[in-house]
């Protein structure tokens, strides 16, 4: 679905993404791991049109999408979440979701003024949909809360919720799990699998929780220093020496129990 | 061909006045940029703070003059400047207590603070006019010129003169010293860094043990010192008049913004950009061209790109063009 070819993105002299090439197969749930600062988020930002690449190209279903603005990519079915939550702080949680779908008839002034009936009907549908998503994310009780007033983890859930408001082709999730309760994260994992299986969404998931990655992803790509370090099934990647050295480590060194 | 005369004409009418005016703007802009950098709002009362500080200094100067104290060749006002700074600092600190602190605690949006500062501006405006009136006041004494146009002509035998006023020289030197000091203060000292930390993330500054009230107080004191110095130097060079000080606000803001809000170096650069764009683009090159070109080619017209009617338009156009290419100013300023 997505092919990234020899992509570079530099900040001044620093090469955040340094010639990465990778593919995300249609229908897959691709995991993207790598040490902090490996360039994962930057890669997402470039693919999603938030940052222009220094060089290289990105294609989606064979069509070049390098440098398209994010809103254009959204209309092509490419959605993403942000690692650092980007909620609409002054709006209610429900409105945060309702604003997502594209081409709402009420978004043109003409309809807002003169076709109020049709707009109202559409709003009801959106509202139901949003409530459904909130229910799933276990935050229905916050529907009318201002989004700036919800907890850190809840904001991450909201990020995820937005991608569930529309039918997407491919969804980029940037550490949706960080700060989310593990039990809930499992449920989210199930939902991702379901969306993938039932509706054919493609996912690309950045995550540092290896359990989560292991449960969901195939294949897994590990980045380091802006390049692709390893690629393969979870098992392959997990046992790759370089990945262990750069990313996974060998567990706690201190003896854990009874240290005091 | 008379390169020397052409050069002197250019220096006398464009470079020296532009430099001095730029330095004046820069000094004002430093205050604006400091408040923006630390307290995160555009302080509309800055022009009137300048007026207030200058007023106190003038009163002090009169007192000194009455007592027979002068500073020799330098203006007496420089002796009264510390007084002006002290009183102005007291005033702005009191204003902060009475007005701004409330909104800071409320975490009010910057625009609210801007409008509040507009209110403060009106009040200060009234106070200044009440105490010293609205008339123009000249308070410069001492040597007026380092060199006058006439003396220069006599000395060099050129037909063009070059005049440099004492106040112009003082302003430029002060501006450079102040910007260096401020830069050093903000980037190298503990207090300076704590001020930047406060402006960046107030809550976290609190968690680091930084005392916000102290940061705010230091900021206001510095701003008062900058405003008073700028106001006094400007007043010495031109004259003091409450309304003009209010009008200065616009070019000062322009300078601070084009330089990049929050950046002392930007304030200096911005001051010169604004000043020189006002002076150079509307300059009539006739005189310079007449010196440089052979008689036969001497221009009839003024050789002026734009008439001076448009000097503000021109300086703003240049400002906008700069911003189009550098959206947060020459020195990567902040934006809220």
């Amino acid at each position: 679905m997505i092919a990234v070819e020899n992509l570079h993105r530099h900040f001044g002299g620093f090469r955040a993404v340094d010639g990465a090439s990778l593919q995300i197969a249609t229908g897959s749930i691709t995991g993207l791991i790598g040490p902090n600062g490996a360039g994962k988020t930057t890669l997402f930002n470039v693919i999603a049109g938030r940052l222009p690449p220094t060089s290289g190209r990105v294609t989606m279903d064979g069509e070049e999408i390098t440098g398209l603005p994010p809103h254009a990519l959204f209309h092509k079915g490419l959605l993403r979440t942000f690692q650092i939550a980007h909620e609409f702080g002054s709006m209610s949680v429900r409105e945060n979701l309702m604003m997502v779908p594209a081409r709402q008839s009420g978004e043109t002034l003409w309809n807002a003024w003169f076709r109020r009936g049709a707009v109202a009907a559409e709003e009801r549908r959106l509202r139901d949909k949003a409530d459904e998503v909130l229910e799933f994310l276990t935050i229905s009780h916050l529907a009318d809360e201002k989004a700036s007033n919800i907890s850190g983890g809840q904001k991450k859930l909201l990020e995820l919720g937005r991608t569930m408001m529309v039918d997407a082709k491919i969804v980029f999730l940037d550490e949706v799990g960080a700060g989310v309760n593990r039990t809930l994260l499992n449920t989210i994992g199930d939902a991702i699998v379901r969306l993938n299986e039932e509706r054919g969404y493609t996912f690309c998931v950045i995550e540092h929780d290896m359990d989560f990655i292991a449960r969901l992803c195939n294949p897994v790509i590990c980045m380091a220093e802006g390049k692709v370090l390893a690629e393969g099934t979870v098992e392959e990647v997990k046992n790759d020496e370089r990945v262990i050295e750069a990313y996974l480590g060998t567990g706690l060194k201190n003896k854990v129990v009874g240290h005091a | 061909m008379d390169i020397l005369n052409a050069l002197v004409a250019f220096l006398n009418f464009v470079f020296v006045p532009g430099l001095a005016y730029g330095a004046q703007l820069a000094l004002g802009a430093l205050g604006v940029t400091l408040i923006y950098g630390i307290l995160r709002f555009s302080n509309f009362a800055h022009g009137d703070t300048m007026a207030f500080g200058t007023m106190v200094t003038i009163l002090g100067t009169w007192g000194l003059q009455a007592a027979g104290v002068t500073a020799g060749p330098l203006p007496t006002a420089l002796l009264a400047l510390p007084l002006g700074i002290a009183v102005t600092a007291a005033l702005v600190l009191a204003t902060d207590r009475a007005v701004y602190r409330f909104y800071r605690r409320q975490k009010a949006a910057p625009t609210i603070l801007v409008i509040v500062s507009l209110g403060v501006m009106f009040v200060m405006n009234g106070i200044v006019r009440f105490i010293i009136g609205v008339e123009e006041i000249g308070f410069a004494d001492g040597e007026r010129f380092l060199i006058t146009a006439g003396d220069f002509r006599k000395m060099t035998g050129l037909s063009e003169g070059l005049a440099i006023k004492t106040t112009q020289a003082i302003t430029v030197v002060t501006a450079l010293i102040v910007v260096a000091a401020l830069f050093w203060f903000l980037n190298r000292t503990r207090t300076g860094k704590s001020m930047r930390a406060f402006s960046d993330n107030e809550d976290l500054a609190l968690l680091s043990g930084i005392n916000p009230e102290r940061v705010v107080a230091v900021t206001w004191i510095l701003a008062a010192a900058l405003a008073t110095t700028a106001g006094v130097l400007y007043g010495l060079d031109k004259s003091f008049k409450a309304f003009t000080y209010f009008q200065l606000l616009l070019p000062i803001f322009a300078a601070a913004i084009v330089g990049g809000l929050g950046s002392p170096l930007g304030a200096i650069a911005g001051g010169f950009v604004i000043a020189f764009s006002e002076v150079t683009v509307t300059y009539a090159w006739k005189k310079v061209a007449t010196y440089l070109l052979p008689d036969a080619l001497a221009p009839d017209g003024l050789v002026q790109l734009m008439s001076t009617d448009y000097k503000f338009a021109v300086s703003f156009t240049i400002l906008i063009i700069v911003l189009l290419f550098m959206p947060t100013g020459l020195f990567k300023g902040k934006s809220v």
Binding site: P35, N36, I84, Q154, V180, N181, R182, T183 | -
Partner: protein
Amino acid sequence: MAEPFLIGESMTGGYGAADILHGCTLAVEKGQIAVIVGPNGAGKSTAMKAVFGMLRLRAGHVKLEGEDITALTPQARVAKGMAFVPQTHNIFTSMTVEENLEMGAFLRRDDIRGTMEQVYELFPILKDKRRQAAGELSGGQRQQVAVGRALMTQPKVLMLDEPTAGVSPIVMDELFDRIIEVARTGISILMVEQNARQALMIADKGYVLVQGANRFTDTGPALMADPEVRRSFLGG
């Protein structure tokens, strides 16, 4: 039993009219590690803020070394040797990494270079990036800066709100290691974690908060062993 080193006792309060915390109690002994877990929105961060004085309590009190500090401002608590890493907005984005660390040591008058070296040792990547604005760092790097800043205070109590969110496994292990070491030097640690299994492994005490109240309290390993806790809060 003697009074704990730091305790927030039956704290009740919230941001506006409605209470978020309902008589919640958190405590940590000297040189020990206490870990708070719970679902999203349970009030973990709120409880931390309450202990640090960033929230007005309607009932309950906070005591440090037996002294009631409920009325103190956060700054005053910093001066008393408490340090806190909030969950969000926990770095100075416009300042360099090094300046962030310096700000952590703002109240210290002694030589801070040694501590800074230790932080760089713990998070080597920060040393490479020390002249870069912290706002330009990756998510995990920012988190490292935030923890580093708190370590710079050389506190008596270190409060961490999800320090490992977004950091890679290798760094997380390092971080937990360091936390254990720090605790061994006699510093008390109170932290919120969603990487609960690792965290509870090293915890002397674990709290499960639900809807602003204590649901389970026990030693870390004991909580981990509780099937109910595992299923509902630790992801099975």
